[in-house]
């Protein structure tokens, strides 16, 4: 099957990611760990752009950029240099941003995603290093703001801006690209996507191979998909009404789910790029072999290995490798000698499913427990131990608990922060599978006590059987297996 792309949609993305796993900023020694700090406490004369200060390049940021370039299968420039992008804005303390221009560190890469019609390669035009500006904080809402405060904690954070080719053919592909891209970055251990402001996306989109429109500064993967769906619809409507799509920059209003015009092509700014005279051009070719050695196994390779090594399905392997921390967790569970297939089901289907249902995002894994935080409210957080998953999988595999009980255990553990093992919860809730004679006894009692229902069932009212099963469950406090109970009652009544 080949995807027809009926609306001639072309989407390209520009993605800014903060190298927030680095210890220090791009051009000074300030710490990058400012997310819970008071405003303007992670600053120094350099990232405040005070007169007389000079940038000093963070070598680790360059190494991280090369790492990203290699993971994106890109070419690493032999010589790379920095430029100034000049514009006025209150969050920009020098009146220019130090960025890269005609000598980006990475060019010509690609990322393979699951496209509309199977594997689909998205070209990476370039990826370059730059510094983040500060952050404006509006007093009150943006519309009715009484004033603006500036927090320069973010100023000088190391960024990588990645520009893709317009290779995505649907909003869904754009979202899949972003998921995959983020996953790769987290594998490289240069990026924590859960931190506020870690990733910002600009999307370029056109329909019927026409004029492209840029949508600026979208903060989530879901937001990108929604903004693109809206924008494609808008452009199609413009054309249907006989109009022409004009080249412009639009802003995505997340609350209303619409894009709004910001500026047209004529108003585009002239950034007057020129080489940053305070930083020397760099030759980085010699660094590459050593950096290559540090490259970890990337998502696609891990996925193939999981299928091979653990004998699990491609769906499970894909799901487990969609987060490096989850993949590591799963491997450590398997290392304890449990059945990898059962572990895959309980980790990828149930555990991950329950996390998503609760809007919990995996935030770290320390080799013993995997931690997660609520996507919207970082105060809600919890963790799940490798040893707990091992215990649960073993109990299930040994037939000591039903699948319903196992699900119940996982839910309970996610909903409480109390230190309880699965056996603990099973005991407390009486979730162990009931003994057979107990069930037999309960069935006999139920039949004796509910003659009317028995007669109804025998007379053809199927519903009555459900009632009888329910009564048995009640007597056994839910420990009976519903399916088995049903079969046993039928056998008893119909022979």
């Amino acid at each position: 099957m080949v995807y027809e792309n009926p609306d001639g949609v072309r989407i390209g993305l520009e993605i800014h990611i903060q190298l927030n796993k680095l210890k220090t900023k791009m051009f000074c020694g300030c710490s990058t760990d400012y997310h819970n700090a008071a405003p303007n406490t992670h600053t120094c004369p350099v990232c405040l752009g005070l007169p007389g200060t000079l940038p000093v390049l963070n070598k680790k940021a360059v190494e991280a950029a090369i790492k990203v370039g290699l993971a994106l299968e890109g070419e690493i420039a032999e010589e790379t240099q920095f430029h100034r992008k000049n514009y006025f804005y209150p969050d920009l303390p020098k009146g220019f941003q130090i960025t890269q221009y005609d000598f980006p560190i990475v060019s010509n890469g690609k990322v393979v995603i699951e496209g509309e019609d199977g594997e689909h390669a998205v070209g990476i035009t370039r990826a370059h290093m730059e510094e983040d500006p500060g952050k404006l904080v509006h007093i009150g809402s943006i519309g009715k703001s009484k004033g603006v405060l500036i927090d320069y904690n973010r100023s000088g954070m190391p960024l990588i801006e990645t520009v893709t080719e317009p290779d995505m053919r649907s909003p869904k592909e754009a979202r899949r690209f972003l998921d995959k891209f983020r996953n790769i970055l987290e594998y490289l251990d240069v990026f924590d996507g859960n931190l506020e402001g870690a990733m910002r996306v600009d999307a370029n989109v056109s329909v019927h191979w026409g004029t492209r429109v840029e949508i600026k500064n979208i903060s989530s993967h879901k937001g990108v998909e929604r903004a693109l769906l809206y924008e494609i619809m808008r452009q199609k409507n413009v054309i249907r009404r006989g109009g022409k799509v004009s080249q412009e920059t639009r802003h995505y209003d997340e609350g209303r789910g619409v894009t709004l015009s910001m500026r047209t092509k004529e108003e585009a700014e002239d950034y007057r790029y020129f080489r940053e005279p305070d930083l020397m051009p760099m030759q980085v070719t010699d660094w590459i072999p050593a950096i290559k050695e540090t490259l970890p196994e990337l998502p696609d390779a891990k996925r193939s290995r999981f299928i091979e090594q653990y004998g699990i399905t491609d769906m499970h392997a894909k799901s487990l490798t969609s987060k490096i921390m989850l993949a590591d967790f799963y491997e450590d569970v398997c290392a304890e000698g449990v059945d990898p297939k059962i572990a895959a089901t309980w980790t990828a289907d149930v555990f991950l499913g329950e996390l998503n249902y609760r809007d919990l995002a995996i935030s770290s894994y320390d080799g013993k427990k995997i931690s997660f935080i609520h996507a919207k409210d970082p105060k809600i957080k919890n963790s799940f131990k490798v040893s707990d998953m091992v215990e649960l999988v073993n109990l299930f595999a040994e037939g000591k608990i039903s699948d319903r009980a196992a699900v119940e255990v996982i839910r309970t553990m996610l909903d409480t922060t109390e230190e309880k093992t699965p056996s603990h919860i099973i005991e407390e809730k009486g979730l162990f599978k009931a003994e057979d004679d107990l069930v037999t006894k309960a069935i006999a009692e139920t039949i004796a006590e509910n003659e009317a229902a028995v007669q109804d069932y025998l007379g053809g009212t199927e519903k009555s059987l459900n009632f009888l099963v329910g009564q048995v469950m009640k007597k056994t406090k839910g420990t009976a297996d519903a399916k088995t109970t049903r079969e046993l009652i039928i056998k008893e009544l119909k022979g």
Binding site: P45, L48, G49, L50, P51, G52, T53, L54, P55, V56, L57, R84, N86, F88, P90, P93, K94, G95, F96, V148, I150, D270, R272, Y273, F274, P277, D278, L279, M280
Partner: protein
Amino acid sequence: MAKWMSVAQVKEKIEESSAEEVTAHYLEVIKKSKINGYIKVSEKALEQAKKIDAEEHDGPLAGVPIAIKDNISVVGLPSSCGSKILEGYAPPFNAHVIEKLLAAGAVILGKTNMDEFAMGSSTETSYFGPTANPWDLERVPGGSSGGSAAVVAAGEAPFSLGSDTGGSVRCPAAFCGVVGLKPTYGAISRYGVVAYANSLEQVGPLANNVRDIAVLMDVIAGYDRRDSTSIDSKTEYQKALVEDVKGLKIGVPKEFFGEGTHPDVEKAVWNAIHKYEDLGATWEEVSMPHIKYALASYYIIAMSEASSNLARFDGTRYGLRENGENWHAMVSKTRAEGFGTEAKRRILLGTYALSAGYHDKYYLKALKVRTLVKQDFDKALSKVDLLMAPTMPNPAFKIGEKIEDPLTLYLSDVNTCPINLAGVPSISVPCGFTDGLPIGLQIIGKPFDEPAVLRAAYTFEQNTDYHTKRPLEVA
């Protein structure tokens, strides 16, 4: 106490009396100043000197006072860069050179006057009014480090620091009859020096004699990790002071003796070259064909960089802030009010040169010319050890004479700015007078060959007495 003292003499005085007394002497002289050389005299200078006495500081400059150009950051003193836009700004950190000076025991007398953001050759563009030339109070001291040169010439400091982007140390040195060095690009950290044109400028010392220049260089030069363009050349500057030029090969670039050169300047410079010949050196004419494009290239590069460097002065964080109905209006008003005419002119021209459609025509072309100029220097200096030429084609002009005519003023940098394009070291030493006004000889060397430059300058000084002459106006 003698009005004009070398660093060695200052140190003797400190030995005899105290750092406090020496500093008090200079503060007294400054008090009676007729030249407006200082923007701000440090209120802590005496205290600092007392501390040096109390600590029995044994640094190479223990108790020796120094004057600092106002674009070099010193904690506790305002840093205005001669501009209104930095009103009230005091840097919270010391420039690298200041850290070095303080560690060596120097006492900071104050901040000296300069052309606004070092943009000028006369110190007239300062928001704080012009500085007078000690040799003729109606004349300019040169610029942009006019204050730093004038206070040394007037005995208001034994030596000083300036900065040189296109001649800003050498021009005032020549006009005020003192010695001024523009070191090789990268020899001294620029950390804490407010940038005018980053790729061109260096901090440079000014003094009454060549030895004191070397003394200062030994303290302030060297690698600093905060300036990615700084280099550790491991030069020992005072060791270069050997009175011997036998076998020295001098190149005389005829392009530096252009049409507008004053005949007395030309004569004085040739006299100096012949003096070297007498002392055992040889000279030959060299040709540097691209020098005639250097001035245009220099101004385009300097203004382009400046337009970007000065963008940070927007009233948001420090310095002057005017009121406006929104942020953009506030920035516009602040910059309209805060910058002087020359700074505005250079910001506009630099912005223009970098703009889409003009970038290649001006900025890129200027960079290409810069490469050619550099090659001219490489080529010339492969045949000879040093180049010699007039520092300035003319002696100091009258205050107000050229300020309304920026192009004529720009032309006065014709012999100094090529050196900054090439990044090579160059010194200006006194080599004569015309109508009572000093003339400067410019000695240009290979990159990081300050030793050859200093040796030649020192030998000339030991065999002439121009550097001993003092301006009577301020005596």
